[in-house]
């Protein structure tokens, strides 16, 4: 059996994961690298979509589909809407100038990744998932999520619903010219 650098056996699942994760990572880079805001937003949409697939591989199908509904379906459409609304006013409003500070930021980011990765990853690369028991198979379904959300997590759930209500009222206040 082939072995990758960290002593991990190369399986078809790992290759599939590598493809999806690589595409997601490329899209994440694209969000930062593209100068055109619409293209950044598109990269982010693709990234969120691929993340939903990764959630499916983690047996969290309910959250994967919620990811698509909430992020790709609602939040990113809002982003696109606002970018296009700003584009309507002045075409070059959102284009940035070159800046030497950028390279320092990129360097710092790389340093952070290397520092964090060298501390955490060597341990975690050995951890493999527990085999799929009947309890685990029900893990990401709507029943399990609903039951937990409305029993153990009732208080945070209500708090979040109040937060969303405040968000709605706040955004209306901000967006409306006259009230």
């Amino acid at each position: 059996m082939n072995h990758a650098a960290g002593g991990v056996p190369v399986t078809p699942e790992l290759l599939l994961f590598g493809a999806v994760a690589g595409a997601a990572a490329l899209c994440a880079v694209g969000v930062v690298a593209f100068n055109n805001a619409i293209r950044s937003a598109l990269c982010l949409v693709v990234n969120f979509f691929l993340l939903a697939f990764l959630y499916f591989t983690l047996n969290a199908e309910m959250l994967g589909i919620t990811q698509i509904v909430v992020y790709t379906g609602a939040i990113m459409v809002l982003f696109l809407f606002v970018i296009m609304l700003l584009n309507l006013g002045a075409p070059n409003l959102l284009v940035e100038k070159r800046d030497p500070k950028k390279y320092l930021g990129i360097l710092l980011g790389c340093g952070m990744f290397v520092l964090l990765g060298s501390q955490v990853l060597p341990e975690l690369i050995k951890v493999h998932a527990a085999p799929l028991t009947p309890e685990l198979a029900k893990f990401g379904g709507p029943e399990a999520i609903g039951r937990t959300l409305f029993t153990s997590y009732m208080y945070p759930f209500e708090a979040v619903s109040v937060l969303l209500l405040i968000g709605i009222v706040g955004s209306i206040l901000l967006a409306k010219r006259r009230i």
Partner: protein, 115 residues
């Protein structure tokens, strides 16, 4: 998935988080900065779900305790999503209000508070 170690998911999460941090530091377009924050939130979500799936469930004997320990990561993800949705609604509202006020949304030009 069976053949994938936890480190792979955490590595991807970490990479996305770093990219988001770099984006927030480097970019000056507030909308892109917002998108980078979303990227960071999502990388955290991925990490939560990966840890929730990969923990050693066999050690927990009680059924309800097992259920709780399995669901904790997913619950966090749900709340992060809800908070992100509220944040985006308000944040984009603020950007639109600034644009209406000043016809410009460059972060470096918004220095009225001398920050």
């Amino acid at each position: 998935m069976n053949g994938v170690p936890l480190g792979a998911y955490i590595g991807l999460g970490m990479f996305m988080f770093t990219t988001g941090v770099v984006g927030v530091v480097v970019r000056r377009n507030p909308i892109v900065i917002f998108m980078c924050i979303e990227l960071m939130l999502n990388s955290v979500n991925l990490t939560f779900l990966a840890f929730a799936r990969y923990q050693m469930v066999t050690k927990v004997a009680d059924s309800t305790a097992l259920q709780n320990s399995l669901m904790a990561g997913q619950m966090m993800v749900i709340f992060v999503m809800a908070v992100a949705a509220a944040e985006v609604a308000v944040g984009l509202g603020i950007i639109m209000a600034i644009y209406r006020l000043r016809d410009n949304v460059d972060i470096d030009e918004l220095n009225l508070l001398r920050g």
